[in-house]
């Protein structure tokens, strides 16, 4: 099974997949970096070119501004790519979580969001698991570094034993759902007048038992039916 999300196919265990057919901006960036390296290479083969005033200015542009420009563009590209669903699922431990996005059951929260494009399919993991607070993206990237450390330098836990570092904050859900008619006027949400204020103040979790409590049920993946995906 393959899930197509924009220009990237999502990695699902046991199925054929590929990651990141090279996007045009990335290709252009690589060509630009290669071109920059060739230009700078001129100074390696002909260091005497800096003897003239023009040569000195060119050297300053090539050895100072151009590398900074390349590094900034490259870092921006890498950071953007690190938000992609395919990037998150490229680690073996996350494959089961990728599979849960294709469970054919609307009660599965992650699957329902992914399949109905309530979150951008290309950035599905990041959209829900980022932190919509000040420095949130930075904190999420730090967590990502911790993931990498655990993955490469320790024994990563089995997928079904992976837990969030902190309880899921309703703020992440409310970032999109607050103000939405289906959320504000939903029959279940309004059955108890105290419920919505409690949810909005994070006193009752959206994913608490009896509510949207099936998110990534990786332990029962062998018991569910899968959606074939949009082709």
């Amino acid at each position: 099974m393959e899930g197509r999300t924009g220009n990237a196919r999502i990695a699902l265990p046991g199925f054929s997949f590929w990651l990141f057919p090279m996007a045009l901006p990335t290709t252009l960036l690589i060509l630009f970096i290669a071109f920059s390296a060739i230009l700078i290479g001129v100074f390696v083969s002909r260091p005497g070119a800096t003897a003239t005033r023009g040569g000195k200015i060119t050297a300053f542009l090539l050895l100072f501004f151009l590398p900074i420009l390349c590094a900034t563009m490259g870092l921006s590209s890498e950071l953007e790519r690190s938000k992609s669903t395919a990037f998150c699922l490229s680690c073996h431990t996350m494959e089961a979580f990728g599979k849960t996005l294709y469970v054919d059951d609307p009660a599965h929260l992650a699957a329902a969001h992914f399949q109905n494009h309530r979150v951008p399919a290309d950035n599905a993991c990041y959209t829900c698991h980022t932190d919509y607070a000040m420095f949130g993206t930075f904190m999420v990237k730090l967590h990502g570094l911790r993931h990498v450390y655990i993955y490469y330098l320790t024994k990563p836990p089995a997928s079904e034993n992976i837990k969030l570092y902190t309880p899921f904050n309703n703020r992440e859900c409310l970032h999109c759902h607050a103000g939405a008619r289906s959320f504000e006027e939903g029959a279940v949400h309004n059955a108890d007048p105290d419920l919505l204020p409690a949810v909005k103040s994070n006193k009752i979790s959206c994913i608490s038992s009896g509510c949207h409590d099936v998110v990534h049920d990786v332990a029962k993946l062998n018991q569910v039916k899968f959606w074939n995906g949009a082709h």
């Binding site: 590398p67 870092l75 690190s82 990498v148």
Partner: protein, 68 residues
């Protein structure tokens, strides 16, 4: 003349460091994995930063040597 040779030698070293950093970055952009991101930042950017700093220090120190 000796000063010119010294700065040329240093420019070459700085350029080589920057080129190595650029090559590492280009390879990392081809390889879309979390480890590539770390190599990009930890090795690629470090090499480029070292090259740029070496270049700037070369300009300052060789310039200062000439004025003396």
């Amino acid at each position: 003349m000796a000063g010119a040779n010294a700065i040329e030698k240093r420019l070459q070293i700085a350029a080589i460091l920057i080129i190595l950093g650029l090559l590492v970055e280009a390879v990392c952009l081809l390889w879309a994995r979390p480890l590539a991101f770390l190599i990009f930042v930890g090795i690629g950017m470090l090499l480029m930063f070292a090259g740029i700093v070496f270049y700037l220090i070369s300009l300052v120190t060789v310039g200062a040597g000439r004025s003396q």
